[in-house]
């Protein structure tokens, strides 16, 4: 008797997993009605898949029936796969019962587009409304904005969801047109912009009137597929930067393309997803958001792609050796943050601790900085005398020789023959 619901969940979870966002943080929804759930504060990863991705939300499609035929998408119209659809009640029951057992932080609901945009969006809204109003559910809800849905429906959705997102899919318009001629980046920009304006309007009103309801409190995000089309890292990150700035996005996700189609416009099935590249893009994203880097410092015409063998911060430092070494006992916080091997937490500790006396090597190590990288770029109380300056290539060689990269020559999931 369990078979039908198990089969549906199998199909509709499988189809939803290529959307990589699983964030459940940044909302402020408290359990004030003695209902179920609380979406305040930091997110929680309740488990991790065997590929190491966080599982925080029940991530499913309402249906994988779709009128579009995007080459990169597993649910594309022309793909010969099993189709299924949940009822409104099934999604509500699954969410409530998973949440009660502490499996999840909430629901991530997306859908293939059936009939038309409004028809689909209306079903999604019906589910979140039922969860909030009838089931008193205060957990996290991430809802996909369906491109082309009416403003009324988007506004209604925003009143119940914590986060909304809509995917750019390909980093450039040209790339998108190549694989999904029916779509354009404008279809994404319009709703992002509408929701952004509404968020601002609600928060302005909230400043005056306390009873103004929440509107997408955890903000908006988007996703780009990496490696399906031939964009450079520069193009990808400049697009990301523009979207962060223009639409006040909370996150941009980069999803290494996993070959799922024999379409000759795409990498062949069985080729490795670009995992290292994806990781380097996320590192760049972090440098932009938390380390005070401007995207043009890391990626520009002279340097359009990220290094594979070293992280972007180290790469930047090696290209700017004239700015180093810095003395951790006197340098600005801003510059300490830029040292390879020093993270935000360590940088903060350094500037607090040095008020009490000049810092020595063993203290810096205990604070948690990665000395094998950082020592080439810093001076401290007991720095050894250094008679000559080393050039970038030499430093890189020393660092690489001392560290075992998490990326081995052979991908881990590939069998070695010998």
């Amino acid at each position: 008797m369990f078979d039908r619901i198990r089969e549906k969940l199998g199909i509709l979870a499988d189809a939803a997993k290529y959307d990589v966002s699983c964030s459940s943080s940044g909302s402020n929804r408290k359990n004030e009605n003695k209902g179920l759930g609380d979406a305040e504060g930091t997110g929680i990863c309740h488990t991790y898949t065997e590929d190491g991705r966080c599982v925080s939300l029940l991530k499913i499609l309402l249906t994988n029936h779709c009128i579009y035929d995007c080459a990169f998408c597993v649910s594309r119209r022309s793909n010969d796969i099993k189709r299924a659809a949940f009822t409104v009640d099934e999604v509500v029951e699954l969410t409530m019962n998973f949440y009660r057992r502490n499996y999840i932080e909430g629901l991530f609901l997306s859908s293939g587009i059936f009939k038309n945009a409004d028809y689909t969006m209306e079903r999604l809204v019906r589910i979140v409304k039922k969860l909030r109003n009838e089931e008193k559910f205060n957990g996290y809800i991430h809802l996909k904005t369906i491109p082309g849905a009416s403003e009324e429906l988007m506004k209604e959705a925003g009143l119940y969801a914590d986060r909304m997102s809509i995917n750019l899919e390909m980093p450039t318009e040209t790339g998108l047109k190549l694989l999904a001629p029916e779509k354009s980046h404008d279809d994404v920009k319009k709703p992002l912009d509408y929701i952004r304006k509404k968020i601002e309007q609600f928060s302005d009103e909230k400043a005056l009137i306390k009873s103004v309801p929440k509107f997408v409190p955890a903000g908006q995000s988007t996703q780009m597929v990496i490696g399906a089309t031939p964009e450079s890292d520069k193009e990808i990150m400049h697009t990301a930067h523009a979207f962060y700035t223009n639409f006040s996005l909370k996150r941009v996700y980069y999803s290494g393309y996993i070959p799922i189609s024999n379409d000759n416009r795409l990498p062949v099935i069985g080729s490795q997803p670009p995992l290292i590249r994806e990781n380097r893009l996320y590192q760049t994203d972090w440098l932009m958001r938390f380390y005070g880097f401007n995207v043009t410092e890391i990626l520009n015409d002279a340097h359009p792609n990220l290094d594979v063998d070293i992280d972007p911060k180290l790469s930047w430092a090696l290209r700017n050796l004239d700015q180093f070494p810095i003395d951790v006992n006197t340098a600005d916080y801003r510059m300490i943050l830029r040292v390879p091997g020093i993270g935000v937490a360590s940088a903060l500790k350094i500037v607090q601790a040095r008020k009490f006396g000049r810092l020595h090597r063993d203290q810096l190590k205990k604070i948690g900085i990665s000395m094998n990288k950082a020592r080439h770029f810093i001076r401290y109380a007991d720095s050894p005398m250094q008679l000559k300056d080393y050039e970038a290539g030499h430093i890189k060689g020393v660092i690489l020789a001392e560290s075992s990269s998490k990326y081995q020559k052979v991908a881990q999931n590939q069998l070695s023959l010998f």
């Binding site: 499988d14 609380d38 190491g52 991705r53 019962n97 350094i350 810092l359 604070i367 998490k406």
Partner: protein, 256 residues
Amino acid sequence: MDIYVFDGTLEGLLTAVFYYYQRKSSAVRLVSSEHYHPDVFHPAFEVISEDEKAKRVWSGLGKKLDKEWMMHFYKSFLSGQPDTFQDLFEFSKYIIDNIPGAEDNYGNKYVLSISQMSHKVHREKHRMEAFIRFQKTGDGIFYAHIEPDFNVLPLLIRHFKNRYADQKWIIYDLKRKYGLYYDLEKVEEITFDFTTEMSPALNALPEQVLDPQEELYTLLWKDYFKSTNIPARKNMKLHIRHVPKRYWKYLSEKQE
């Protein structure tokens, strides 16, 4: 060097700090009675916990440390580690003997170890918030047991009470043999003797005490865990770093 033996409670530790100043000891080795081995050549001073003395030290610290640091202190204490007891003792002296703001000195050994231990305990608390798997029993109580590295139950109360306000739940620490019970109103500490059918050796409750729907949801959760995986990206090293093997025993999705 004086040896102080205390009862392993927070109160006892704070009382020990009080005695250090009253007795004008030079240096102290603080040991909990659980870890103390009597030594004829070095007689020990037995610290009897006293509410009054403990409170004086606690409020003294509270005058110099903000709430966050007082929490670091408490969390480090919950680690129950012998070395951490000593670190907390030395940290208290350092804070009391210095001008306000001394806790920012991460170059100081004790400041750093308290901040790092608090971080570890906090991580364990966060892991429990993630890895607890409730099973619904026939009488409608959501039950889970755990074996955390540190004594984190006191830190879990607020989170689970806020979140599961409309369901009764029990979280039981098998290692420390006590649990929390929420009855829709308040959270209470409980202890119970396991009957044979509810043996702690089992990672799940036996079927006959469960709600009839429980089997379905355990199954659906396992199915979901499988279908959300992307085999082309498999990376077990990363998987195990995030979900260390010692936690697998109670994770329903990791059972065959």
